[in-house]
């Protein structure tokens, strides 16, 4: 009977094309708007490292001004970045499984191939521990060594795309790339890697691409390069040289640690507090002791990657869906009641109430399915518009298989909910009343 009811549903939709289009359109519009906002929210709030996000931590030390906290919220939380000297002190710890101080830093890049123009590439200066800590996949080679970290070795890890541009995608390990005119030996090429949100440096946007190359943290320091990112200072200090800057109270580097066990986490907290206490004795860290480690999801929550505006937008979008559904209920009711005489005939010819309910249920399902497909199309264009209108949303505003499936299921469920009352109503009609009126 399902194929028969599907045929009847299709005929019914064709009978009143305008009314059918309005119903499908109302559901499609509600689904399109809801799924556009939900997709953005879903990607914004998703776990970028689900296998170990509870074991990798962003570090906060409260070296900020004694007069006022860095943040007014979260109990006057410490700054999101560290001073260079505090980060270097933390790098001395042997408690973490992996750890890395890091900063964003771009380079002008070329190779010995004269046909390639020199291009500016975004880069990250960090420690070798960055790669295993964040499970960075390698296509060729691997990270540099600890010794190369310490010696500011001119070595570089390239992204897959950068390797394709510079070396045509070949295994370039051992090849030379020139960064700011200085030769760097390629030690590794990473495979496609795009954690979303890009959690480890939220100062430069949570929804941007990963860097195009990576060098040891000591390299820019040795070249007296600062960071291409946020630098915040609270203390009036005479900064006349790069060394003055490195010793200043300005916070400008990020520091991440991998702590696999509760014991490691407790030990690291004690280590941070011990370090801060030592610094207090030296006249620094004059605020109450407040040093924090935040796992990845806590960090994104703390940094408000998903803002209250986004949550409100999702709520509003779903309220809009409800309004669309209410309209659909009215349209369906009108459509179904308009056909009451025909249902009267079917009832006279032997259709039970459940037969009538099933017939209309299939029609409602079909409307939902078409509405879902329409909603997907609208979501696609909605996300396309977001990508085109808002910088930094290129990786965020994409439909993924989960959201496609969710759209369809949600649309069908929404249509079924909208169709419940009209379907119930049509099963209640008295066939005798309508047989004379057909």
């Amino acid at each position: 009977m399902l194929s028969y009811y599907s045929k009847l549903a299709w005929l019914s939709l064709k009978r009143n094309p305008l009314l059918s289009a309005l119903m499908v359109g109302a559901i499609a519009l509600g689904i399109g708007v809801s799924m556009t906002t939900l997709t953005l929210y879903y990607v914004m709030s998703s776990d970028p490292m689900p296998l170990k996000s509870d074991r990798v931590f962003a570090v906060q030390l409260d070296s900020w001004s004694p007069d006022e906290p860095y943040y007014d919220r979260d109990g006057g939380a410490p700054p999101p970045q560290l001073t260079y000297r505090d980060a270097m002190a933390l790098m001395e710890s042997d408690i973490p499984t992996h750890h890395a101080t890091m900063m964003h830093r771009g380079f002008a890049v070329r190779t010995e191939n004269e046909n390639l123009r020199q291009e500016h590439k975004s880069g990250r200066a960090t420690y070798a521990g960055f790669f295993p800590m964040f499970d960075v996949p390698f296509l060729y080679g691997g990270p540099w060594t600890k010794e190369q970290d310490e010696s500011a070795a001119r070595v570089v890890v390239l992204s897959r795309e950068t390797n394709e541009k510079l070396f045509g995608g070949a295994d370039s390990v051992g090849e030379i790339a020139y960064l700011d005119a200085e030769p760097f030996r390629v030690v590794g090429v990473i495979d496609s890697w795009q954690p979303m949100p890009l959690f480890y440096d939220l100062n430069n946007g949570a929804f941007t691409e990963t860097e195009e190359l990576f060098v040891p943290f000591s390299v820019p320091i040795s070249k007296e390069y600062g960071a291409h990112g946020s630098t915040n200072c609270w203390k009036p200090e005479m900064i006349e040289s790069f060394q003055d800057f490195l010793q200043s109270e300005c916070v400008w580097v990020q520091h991440w640690v991998q702590l696999d066990t509760a014991a490691q986490q407790d030990a690291y907290q004690a280590f941070m507090d011990g370090y801060a206490t030592e610094q207090k004795a030296l006249g620094r860290f004059q605020r109450p002791l407040d040093n924090r480690i935040n796992n990845i999801m806590e960090w994104m929550e703390f940094r408000q990657v998903v803002g209250d505006d986004n949550r409100l937008l999702v709520v509003l979008a779903f309220m809009f869906l409800v309004i669309c559904l209410l309209n659909t209920v009215g349209l369906m009711l009108a459509k179904f009641l308009n056909r009451a005489p025909l249902i009267g005939v079917r009832r006279a010819l032997g259709a039970s109430k459940s037969d009538v309910a099933l017939q209309h249920g299939v029609e409602v399902f079909l409307i939902g399915l078409l509405g879902g497909l329409g909603g997907l199309l609208l979501s696609y264009f909605g996300l396309l518009a977001v990508r085109n209108w808002y910088r930094g949303y290129e990786y965020l505003a994409k439909l993924n298989p989960e959201m496609v499936a969710t759209s369809i299921v949600l649309a069908v469920l929404a249509a079924i909910v909208a169709g419940l009352y009209p379907t119930w109503h049509i099963t209640r009609i008295q066939p005798a009343v309508h047989l004379k009126t057909q």
Binding site: M1, R15, L342, V345, G350, S352, K353, A432
Partner: protein, 239 residues
Amino acid sequence: MLSMDSITKVYRAGVIETHALRSLSLEVAAGEFVAVTGPSGSGKTTFLNIAGLLEAPSGGRYVLDDVDVSTMKDKARSQTRNEKIGFIFQGFNLIPDLNIADNVEVPLRYRGWSRSERKQKIDEALELVGLSARKQHLPSQLSGGQQQRVAIARALAGEPKLLLADEPTGNLDSLMARQVMELLEQINESGTTIIMVTHDPELARRAGRNVHLLDGQVSDFQPIEPPPAESEDHVAIVA
């Protein structure tokens, strides 16, 4: 075939009660052709709705084909309606989106028959009413008389024991009306019980028995006189 004992039907609208049937009792034997007549408001349509299980009586007992159907639930009533009763309406009540074959198929769909069984019954029913060649036509492409013949084919396709006709010729001109009536007589001769509500005294005369309703009760239970065989009209039909 049909036995109604003290059937009542009361419609309530707020505090107002309308007694459509008042203790109606009627027996119809298998194979009979009964015409139900009466003035407007006498309860003819209500009687037909209850006989066709489209409405439940407010009181009384209704036995159809030896089964008490007075208190049946919807599912059982629908099944009984589908298997034992065929309907012919004044307004034909064909489904406009479905072609002729699909219209005839409607009651068979609810019977749960296989595709081949349905096809056979559709062919037989359309053959009987002389519309085999119009299977793929839509109702709107047929004349009123042809539409009523399709409705008769639909009513007969499921081989019901009881055929209920509500003013079956009311929307037809006299020639088509006679053709339809002749078809009903032919169906009755093959053994199907027919109860026909009509205002038309000529049609009523051609039924085997006439039941006259007045104020929701059977007022006259006399067999009607046979129609004059010499009537020009009748001769015309035979011709």
